[in-house]
């Protein structure tokens, strides 16, 4: 028996297949993962993401603290409510977690971290926050829903009073605001537009029911995974871990080396010259028939690599993957699937964004 979100009984009643995820009993799908995936690409779906941890960080030196704690620089967040994606690094550059941090006020930030890493994150953040006098509060009183898809914002706003709806619809991309007692962010993990909404746990079932009545389709962790893979987004534990730094995880764009005097945790390790060139995370499109999966070995003319996440991409009707390969690998590679060397092509993620394929799949699958 794992931890349960306020929506657990709702999921079971809806026929969800429940699986363990980071110690939580979560819905994998409600019948068809593929249909849930397509609903998010074409219309709107809702995910229960209450297992993720919302943290409030508050203190006069909160900004100063976060500029040391995170590899990305919260000084970029000029407007209140603006959000930033960042890695949380160890001193050796290994990734402890990936997260989103929102600047809500000069002295107050909201951070959302992964469920499976919450304990180590909290211990790490609290230990480093203490010297700065920054209070870290876990918001276990909140449930969180992700409403995603081209119709997600309109369908969500329709449930709100006119004034709050207008405020929600006016949110810029990657921004959040306290709206009508909810924390509403225009963020997601699917490659589609939408909201992530944190609300008092007691409201979750009512809001879920209202979204369902508005034809927003419940979607489980299975669809969440195929959607994020198509969107080229990393999953902590698969594509990111403590053994690899952001530069070998496709996340160099999230590391703010400017200004050069900002001594964030892990900076020295990232700047240290290495004997061997770093690996890099790239996208793969399978050109033969089959399914790419995590841990399959990739052969390239520069050496071997490994798939970190792979699967079937429902929007492309092809198999895709993220893989950690020798830096500079391009073109054609081979993937070992049950002893056969199948052909795959290195591509630049994302594979799909806003419902549209971004890579060419016009080559015929060889039979």
């Amino acid at each position: 028996m794992g931890l349960k979100t306020p929506l657990y009984d709702t999921h079971v009643q809806a026929g969800a297949k429940i699986v363990d995820f980071g110690g939580w009993d979560m819905p994998l799908h409600y019948g068809s993962q593929l249909e849930e995936h397509h609903a998010v690409r074409r219309d709107a779906g809702v995910f229960d993401v209450s297992h993720m941890a919302s943290l409030d960080l508050e203190g006069a030196r909160a900004t100063e603290f976060l500029r040391i704690l995170l590899a990305n620089d919260v000084a970029k967040l000029r407007a209140p409510g603006k959000g930033l994606y960042s890695c949380l690094l160890k001193e050796d550059g290994g990734v402890l977690d990936d997260l989103i941090v929102y600047r809500m006020h000069d002295t107050r930030y909201r951070m959302v971290v992964n469920a499976g890493t919450r304990d180590k994150d909290l211990a790490w953040i609290r230990a480093h926050a203490a010297p700065y006098g920054v209070a870290v509060t876990e918001r276990r009183d909140l449930a969180m829903l992700a409403v995603q898809g081209p119709e997600a914002r309109a369908k969500t706003a329709a449930l709100l009073p006119a004034e709050t709806a207008a405020r929600a619809l006016a949110l810029p991309v990657f921004s959040a605001a306290d709206i009508g007692g909810w924390f509403v962010a225009r963020t997601g993990y699917t490659g589609e537009d939408g909201f992530e909404i944190a609300m008092p746990a007691a409201e979750a079932t009512t809001v879920w029911a209202a979204l369902r009545a508005a034809d927003v389709r419940p979607a489980g962790l299975g669809a969440r995974d195929t959607l994020r893979l198509e969107a080229g987004l990393c999953l902590y534990g698969n594509d990111l871990d403590e053994a690899h730094d952001p530069l070998e995880s496709g996340l160099a764009w999230t590391v703010a080396f400017d200004p050069p005097d900002r001594q964030f945790i892990g900076r020295a390790a990232l700047e240290r010259p290495r004997a061997a060139a770093r690996a890099e995370l790239v996208g793969l499109l399978l050109e033969d028939r089959g399914i790419l999966r995590g841990h399959q070995v990739v052969s390239t003319d520069r050496g071997a690599g490994e798939i970190t996440s792979g699967g079937f991409a429902p929007t492309l009707n092809r198999s895709i993957a993220l893989a950690r390969l020798p830096r500079g690998t391009g073109g054609e590679v081979r993937v070992d699937i049950r002893g056969k060397a199948l052909a795959a092509r290195v591509v630049k993620p994302p594979f799909v964004r806003h419902g549209k394929p971004l890579i060419s799949t016009s080559t015929e699958i060889s039979q």
Partner: protein
């Protein structure tokens, strides 16, 4: 989701690895996976079946079905030789989800008559096995 009794076709035999076996008029057999198996796997997106003519051993992996979730081996219930495979699954693997006992069949096998007859379950025994497994 798991109500094993009731809908199991009575004319089929079953294995503990969740394949079903139908004996055809020419005494060859047709093999697929059970409704319980397809439900547990989730949406199928790829099926790899053996080539016609390949020799199979009872209990050995002979095909692979891949769902959105994972790849799973399918085991031959008998010693024999592949005489046909379901070509439709190359483009429509979802037939296994939609019609596991009919259009979603995987392979047909000419049974090696010299081998000992396989130990297969009838519908009632497979239903009991499912009930035990899910408890």
């Amino acid at each position: 989701m798991s109500e094993p009794t009731g809908d199991l076709p009575k004319d089929l035999k079953y294995t503990k690895s969740h394949e079903w076996v139908r004996t055809l008029a020419d005494s060859s057999i047709e093999v697929g996976i059970t409704d319980h198996a397809q439900g547990a796997l989730g949406d199928l997106v790829f099926v790899e079946v053996p080539e016609v003519g390949r020799t199979l051993s009872a209990g050995a992996a002979c095909a692979v079905v891949e769902s959105v979730k994972a790849a799973s081996d399918i085991y031959s219930p008998v010693d024999g030789r592949v005489v046909a495979s379901n070509a439709a699954l190359a483009t429509t693997p979802e037939l296994v989800n939609q019609a596991p006992y009919t259009e979603g069949w995987l392979i047909r096998i000419a049974v090696d008559a010299s081998a000992p007859p396989p130990a297969l379950l009838d519908a009632a025994a497979y239903a009991r096995y499912l009930a035990e497994e899910t408890n």
